[in-house]
Amino acid sequence: MLADLCKKAFFKSLWVYHTNTGACNGCDIEVIDVLTPYYDAERFGIKLVGSPRHADVLLCCGPVTRQVVPALKRLYEAVPDPKLVIAIGSCACGGGIWYDSYNIVGGIDTILPVDYYIPGCPPRPEAILHGVAVALGLMDKEVEAEGLQQLPDRPESIPIEK
C-alpha cells in the first residue's frame, strides 16, 4: 500500500536543480516567484534541490558565458538519467541581446540538448508555469512554425543587377 501511495505521490514529480549560466538574475527571481504560495509550482511536485545528483531537471538561465561552459558540461553529466534540460529566458533560448558578444556562446542548446525552452525577458511566472505544464503533459504548446508568409498576387522575381 505504501509503495502504491509512493508511486502515486512521486509520479512525474520533478526535482529541479537551478543553475545560473551568466544570467542577470531576472529569470532567477521569476523562478523563485513560481515557488511562492501564489503561483505554487510545488503542487505539481516541483521541488528545488541543492545538488545536481538529486535532480531530474536541469533548469538553466542565462546566455552561456565561455567561463561557465566546462562547469555546465560537468553539471549535465552529474544529473542522473533520465534528465530534462529546460532553458528559461530569451538569453538561454538563443543568446538574447548578447547572442554575438565575444564572451557568450549563445544559448544553452549550443552546449546541451535542451528539451523545453521558455522565452521571455524575464518570462512571467505564468509562462514558467505553462512550461512546467507542457513538460508534465498537462497542456499543449501554443506556438508553431508558420513558414514563409507571402502576398498571394506576388509578381515574378527580377534578380538584382550588380
Partner: protein, 177 residues
C-alpha cells in the same frame, strides 16, 4: 493556548485559497502587457525601422530580388521591449498578450518569415521605401524596364548623384578659373 490555536485555524479557514489556478484556468495578463509581437504582413511596408531599433538585432532584412524584401524575425531572442511596435509607421506590429511561448524547438517555432513587395530604385536596382504615401501608390509595380513610369530614386542614390553633380560642377569651375 488552545484559544490561540483555534484563532489561527479560524484565520486559515477565513483566508481562503490564495494560489492562482492558472494552468487549469486561462489567465489574462494586464492590458498593457507586452507578449508575442504579431506582424501584419499586409500592412508592413518593409522600411526596416523595427530592425534599426531592435536591441537584440533579431530582425534580418535582405533583398531577394529587385521587388522582394525578405524579412526574418528570430523571436527566440526577443526581449519583448515593444520598440518595434513603437516605431512602426504603419502600426503593422502589435504586442499581443500571448505569453505561453514554451516550445521544444524554439528555433523553428518562433521564427517569423515574410516577403514584402517593394518599389525598385531606378538607378541602383535595389528595393526601397517610397518617400510619401502618394509615391507609394504610384510606385509598386514599378520595374527597372519601365523607365517612363517615374523618376524614383532611393535616398542612397540621391546622395551619390548629388555628390557626382557637385564634383562635376567643382571641376568645371576649376577649369574655368
Amino acid at each position: 493556548m488552545i484559544l490561540s490555536k483555534l484563532k489561527e485555524a479560524l484565520i486559515c479557514i477565513m483566508a481562503g485559497r490564495a494560489t492562482l489556478p492558472y494552468p487549469f484556468k486561462p489567465h489574462d495578463p494586464a492590458a498593457d502587457f507586452r507578449g508575442y509581437p504579431e506582424v501584419d504582413v499586409d500592412k508592413c511596408i518593409g522600411c526596416g525601422a523595427c530592425a534599426a531599433v531592435c536591441p537584440a538585432r533579431l530582425i534580418k532584412i535582405e533583398d531577394k530580388d529587385q521587388t522582394t524584401r525578405h524579412i526574418t524575425r528570430l523571436l527566440e531572442r526577443c526581449v519583448f521591449c515593444g520598440r518595434c511596435a513603437d516605431v512602426c509607421p504603419e502600426d503593422a506590429i502589435t504586442m499581443t498578450g500571448q505569453f505561453q511561448l514554451t516550445s521544444d524547438q524554439v528555433r523553428q517555432d518562433l521564427v517569423h518569415e515574410c516577403d514584402i513587395f517593394m518599389a525598385t530604385c531606378k538607378r541602383c536596382g535595389h528595393c526601397y521605401e517610397p518617400a510619401t504615401p502618394l509615391d507609394r501608390i504610384m510606385s509598386p509595380g514599378f520595374r527597372h524596364d519601365q523607365i517612363d513610369r517615374g523618376g524614383d530614386r532611393c535616398r542612397h542614390t540621391h546622395v551619390r548623384a548629388d555628390q557626382a553633380e557637385a564634383e562635376a560642377v567643382g571641376t568645371a569651375d576649376g577649369e574655368d578659373s
